[in-house]
């Protein structure tokens, strides 16, 4: 993968831009030492990073073209907009209770640098190369969701490394919607840190569909005492999408839920690696992830649940269901449970199947066309994942998007 280093790290050393200089240098050093993951790196074995090697990333950095308006949404919401990886702070519309500030070195979790192995290389790359770091502070219970919109130009051909931290104060509650899309063949290598204060509640909706744009995103949610994190992911496919989603249940009473659907077609390749870390006892998690793969698409789901020694009275449930819609599609799914504590409950299930002929006939025998029957069966398979989401405009929007993707 040295070719990838040359592509993504064109300069010999990180620029020293003041406060983050030493962190950047350290990150770059670790990256140069370990390199990028390759086919033998277990957690990255399904990611054809060779596709990135074949691309040419412009040295120019994101263009200075005028930032278009953020996409619109059928619900009232605050919006911050990353276009070509860059945030225009002036164009932000923040709900009451949400403040945007620049990131400080103390906001950055440097533990990622301690892990020796190439699996974290893109997080190191982000640290070495991020252009702007932002932090959203949330207090109280804003009455509107906040959308983080990510877009890029059709001719977007650079590698960008956006970095954002969202910190919920104690007792705060927010619905955060990441809406991401992109056409151009650049790379968005993003890091999102979510910090949930005591008894806070974050509903984190991710809705993404990329064409040629490669997305590599690491999201880490640190969940404090009695706080609740719920993620709802809808991925409509992308040429190369990799999401690492880590939920750390750090204090008793912390709860995490991850519900996801990926609907893939064409040559999409989407890889979700989730990890739920039960660091203490008295914590709960549940996860339900479904992939529908058509054409020559490839879907990967690796769901890790880790209950550390002493984290007794932890409870975890995981289910992954997968639907292969074409002979050439591939799905690799793996629940991965690592349990070192006593007195816990942890269940998991994984299925891979095809559309049920009996069900298809049944629907047609009632008058639906074959196309309608297939769409309804796919929708039924996928939409159930969002049943646990609170009813409202955001959920309606998400299920409408799902219908579009099917």
């Amino acid at each position: 993968m040295s070719a990838l280093i040359e592509k993504l790290m064109p300069q010999a050393a990180a620029e020293d831009d003041g406060s983050f200089g030493s962190l950047r240098r350290k990150a770059q050093k670790v990256l140069m030492q370990h390199g990028f993951p390759h086919r033998k790196t277990e957690n990255w074995k399904y990611m054809p990073l060779g596709l990135l090697e074949k691309r040419t990333f412009s040295d120019a950095g994101p263009g200075e073209s005028e930032t278009p308006s953020p996409p619109s949404f059928p619900f009232d919401a605050g919006v911050i907009h990353f276009h070509n990886g860059r945030l225009d702070p002036e164009a932000c519309r923040l709900p009451d209770g949400v403040a945007l500030t620049g990131m400080l070195p103390a906001d950055i979790d440097v533990s990622v640098l301690d892990d020796a192995g190439p699996a974290d290389a893109f997080a190191w790359l982000n640290l070495a190369r991020f252009e702007q770091g932002w932090k959203l502070l949330v207090e109280g219970r804003p009455d509107q969701p906040l959308v983080i919109a990510t877009t890029c130009d059709d001719d977007f051909d650079v590698a960008v490394h956006p970095r954002l931290t969202v910190a919920l104060a104690d007792d705060a509650a927010l619905t955060l919607v990441e809406a991401q899309s992109g056409q151009g063949a650049g790379l968005i290598n993003s890091v999102l840190d979510l910090r949930l204060g005591r008894q806070s509640s974050l509903t984190h909706v991710v809705e993404r569909r990329f064409v040629e744009t490669a997305l590599i995103q690491r999201t880490t949610a640190r969940i404090s005492e009695s706080a609740t994190y719920r993620a709802f992911v809808l991925d409509g496919g992308g040429r190369l999408t990799r999401q690492d989603l880590v939920a750390e249940l750090a204090s008793p009473g912390a709860t995490a839920g991850i519900s996801g659907v990926a609907t893939l077609s064409g040559r999409a390749l989407v890889d979700y690696h989730t990890a739920i870390e039960h660091r203490v006892g008295g914590t709960q998690s549940h996860e339900n992830f479904r992939i529908l793969a058509d054409d020559q698409s490839v879907g990967v789901f690796n769901g890790r649940i880790h209950i550390v020694r002493g984290a007794d009275d932890s409870h975890s449930q995981m289910n992954t269901g997968n639907l292969l819609l074409s002979e050439n599609a591939r799905i690799n799914t793996k629940p991965e449970l690592e349990i070192h504590a006593e007195d816990v409950t942890a269940s998991h299930g994984a299925t891979i199947g095809q559309l049920d002929d009996d069900a298809r006939f049944y629907l047609r025998s009632r008058g639906l066309s074959d196309t309608q029957a297939i769409a309804l069966l796919k929708y039924g398979f996928a939409a159930a994942v969002f049943d646990t989401m609170a009813p409202g405009a955001v959920r309606d929007w998400l299920t409408d998007r799902l219908k579009e993707y099917l």
Binding site: D356, F361, R366, L377, G380, A383
Partner: protein, 249 residues
Amino acid sequence: MLNIKNLHVAVGGEEIIKGLDLEVGPGELHAIMGPNGSGKSTLGYALAGRDGYEVTDGSVDFAGQDLLELEVEQRAAAGLFLALQYPVEIPGVNNAYFLRAALNAQRKARGEEEVDSMAFLKMVREQLKQLKMDEALLKRAVNEGFSGGEKKRNEIVQLAVLQPKLAILDETDSGLDIDALKLVAEGVNRLRDENRSFIVITHYQRLLEYLVPDRVHVLSDGRIAESGDRSLAKRLEREGYAFLDTAEA
């Protein structure tokens, strides 16, 4: 209404229906009985157009149309309804949504106006009430978690909403207790009129005490071996199917 001539049907290369003739007039209810493996369910599936049920010979005229030329959903829109012996569970698909989509797909295919959700709900609630089914079932996924009896009653709700010209009930009585059986029979009887026809496939004479047939046919080895009035069903109940061997011998 339905005119089947010399029908041959093969499943997986094996001929199951071997030259069946049957004529069902408007408003008539015909019962088809017969031992296991005689081809009763195959007849239902073949008429509904299920893949894998290959018609190798014969003709089926349905209300002036060549039924065998039509796709499954076209047969439904033309007025054919098959109540399944084992109704399928469709996880994640809301019962009310499905039924309205089906009704409107049929209406659209016939060039009729679609039914709005208010009118639809009124119609379906009435049927649920008559079949003593909980309205909450409308919001649940199709047949998912339904008891065996609820699934069968749900087929009758669909039948009542879709108002077909010809309904084929494939062992709709199996697995029903006597109260549920009466409800299902009442549901069917409410739908009987001079234009709507029924083919009732059953193993037992019990159902025919509530659904009085115009004709009873005994299917054996892919053919109709005997036809008669309702007294034939009573004879079968008494004597079993042994007389078929005698008749053929």
